[in-house]
């Protein structure tokens, strides 16, 4: 090649720029804007947005066979290492004592998973094949790493929209939930006071819990083992109190590095070809539906428990039985408190919220188990 042919070559970046690139860069800028100025899950959406930006600069080579984001994607997403590493850190940040002090609250963590399956049904009805429908449904786990883990196994081609939906809506919980709470509960129900008489929880209980839980869930739902075991490993590191070095590493360097690279790698899959289609729009709507359905199912189950116990349960805590910690718990407590300034159900709501974190992971594993067996994967 001589110098005359060089100039057009040098401008190939611009000449290869497509409208699709332009739209995706706009999407990237919106994600970065939401992350930075609206503070919507910035630790995830900022890297995802930036990764999307990079993937849509023509010929930059970041996503090419030997490009940086491809290397990171292969190392951490394909192997599913990143969501599991993040779970070690998350586990080390969870405190199960509010749940262990009121074990019956764990029931509320089951109802709040209905959004997963309801959304799966709707997605099937909209024509998505089963593997994709299940991956979309798992947005209803309202738990980033769980959604990413399941989607990577079942439908990696939908990873980016699913991750974006999962993390975006998580920040919208304070907007999504309160209207549904007021719609589905009566003023009288919201004013129900709950007694707080927690069992004292010993350090030994907190240490045994993650080990026993790993065993029980692992034996019954093997597909949930990677997720639940890493969550519990992190929790054991913290609860044991004897490996503070490892616990701190899990809560800091491991989770921070995995999060940054996970975001970049997921964002780098957001190419115009894969992202700019009607399915992405459907997924965003289905994700919103999943979040709302979780809340509705939780509230209805709360009302059922209230009825069964003869009015001793405030149904608002049903809405807290999802994974978004501690937002969902606080919203339930705040809504009750708004109705009656002397009504404090924070501790019950926190127990339900912790149950929702467990329920999400278990439900994700069950979904993965059922669907992968049906598909013969």
């Amino acid at each position: 090649m001589n110098l005359n042919e060089l100039l057009p070559e040098l401008l190939k970046g611009l000449s290869n720029f497509t409208i699709g690139n332009g739209v995706m860069i706009l999407a990237a800028l919106i994600l970065i804007y939401l992350a930075v100025f609206k503070e919507i899950e910035p630790v995830l959406l900022l890297p995802i947005g930036f990764g999307c930006l990079l993937a849509n600069i023509p010929l930059a080579g970041m996503t090419a066979a030997e490009g940086m984001t491809k290397v990171i994607y292969d190392a951490g997403i394909k192997t599913e290492l990143f969501p599991l590493l993040i779970f070690i850190g998350v586990g080390a940040m969870i405190d199960f004592s509010p749940l262990l002090a009121q074990p019956r609250m764990v029931l509320l963590g089951a109802a709040g998973q209905f959004g997963i399956f309801g959304t799966l049904m709707l997605a099937i009805a909209l024509g998505f094949p089963l593997n994709q429908a299940a991956s979309i449904g798992v947005i209803g786990a309202i738990d980033g790493p769980t959604s990413i883990f399941v989607a990577t196994k079942l439908a990696p081609e939908l990873l980016a929209p699913i991750a974006v939906a999962a993390y975006s809506y998580m920040s919208l919980i304070p907007i999504i939930q309160p209207p549904l709470m007021k719609l589905l509960t009566t003023k009288k129900e919201r004013m129900i006071r709950m007694e707080y008489a927690p069992k004292p929880i010993s350090k030994r209980t907190l240490i045994f819990f993650p080990v026993v839980l790993t065993l029980v869930v692992g034996l019954l739902v093997p597909e949930a083992t990677p997720l639940i075991s890493m969550l519990m490993l992190g929790n054991l590191l913290k609860a044991s109190g004897v490996v503070d070095r490892l616990s701190n590493a899990a809560q800091n360097e491991i989770i921070n590095i995995a999060t940054l690279f996970l975001g970049l790698a997921i964002g780098s899959t957001m190419t115009a070809a894969g992202f700019l289609n009607i399915d992405t729009g459907k997924i965003m709507l289905l994700g919103l539906f999943a979040f709302a359905l979780d809340t509705v199912a939780g509230l209805l189950f709360g009302k059922l428990m209230s009825f069964v116990t003869g009015g001793k349960i405030n149904p608002l805590i049903g809405a807290a039985g999802i994974s978004a910690f501690p937002m969902a718990g606080r919203l339930a407590a705040k809504t009750a408190n708004d109705e009656d300034a002397d009504n404090f159900i924070l501790m019950h709501a926190m127990g339900a919220n912790t149950a929702g974190q467990l329920g999400s992971v278990i439900a994700g594993g069950i979904l993965l188990s059922v669907v992968s067996k049906l598909l013969g994967i």
Binding site: E41, P200, I201, S202, P326, N337, L358, I362
Partner: protein, 113 residues
């Protein structure tokens, strides 16, 4: 109803059934575990914690909730309260800790992963 929808209904029934089954088992497991590992509350094993008794807990819950309401509006500069060594404390301290971790003063939500 198409076969696909029928299948998805079945998956939902089976899935939610398994979720509730697993959660019920979890309840059982937690009950057994807490029963088996119960300890007599040690006299004063954690000298850092305050001396308030279990009886104070309702007051505390109220205080905590009030603090939470404040916190939702603006970052409070108040020092975390001294708490008794019960389950409440840990949940609350987690909240405080995550808030401190989010180093921007005006950010009410903790980081999510």
């Amino acid at each position: 109803m198409t076969p696909d929808l029928q299948l998805s209904l079945q998956i939902t029934a089976l899935g939610m059934g398994l979720v509730f089954g697993a959660i019920l088992l979890l309840w059982l497991m937690m009950a057994v575990l807490t029963a088996l590992t119960r300890e007599k509350p040690p006299a004063s094993d954690s000298p850092k914690a305050g001396t308030s008794t279990q009886a104070d807990s309702n007051l505390l819950v109220a205080l905590l909730a009030a603090g939470m309401a404040l916190e939702d509006q603006e970052a409070s500069s108040a020092r975390p309260l001294e708490m008794p060594p019960t389950a409440i404390v840990s949940a609350w301290q987690l909240g405080l800790r995550t808030r401190q971790m989010a180093e921007k003063g005006n950010q009410a939500r903790p980081p999510r992963y």
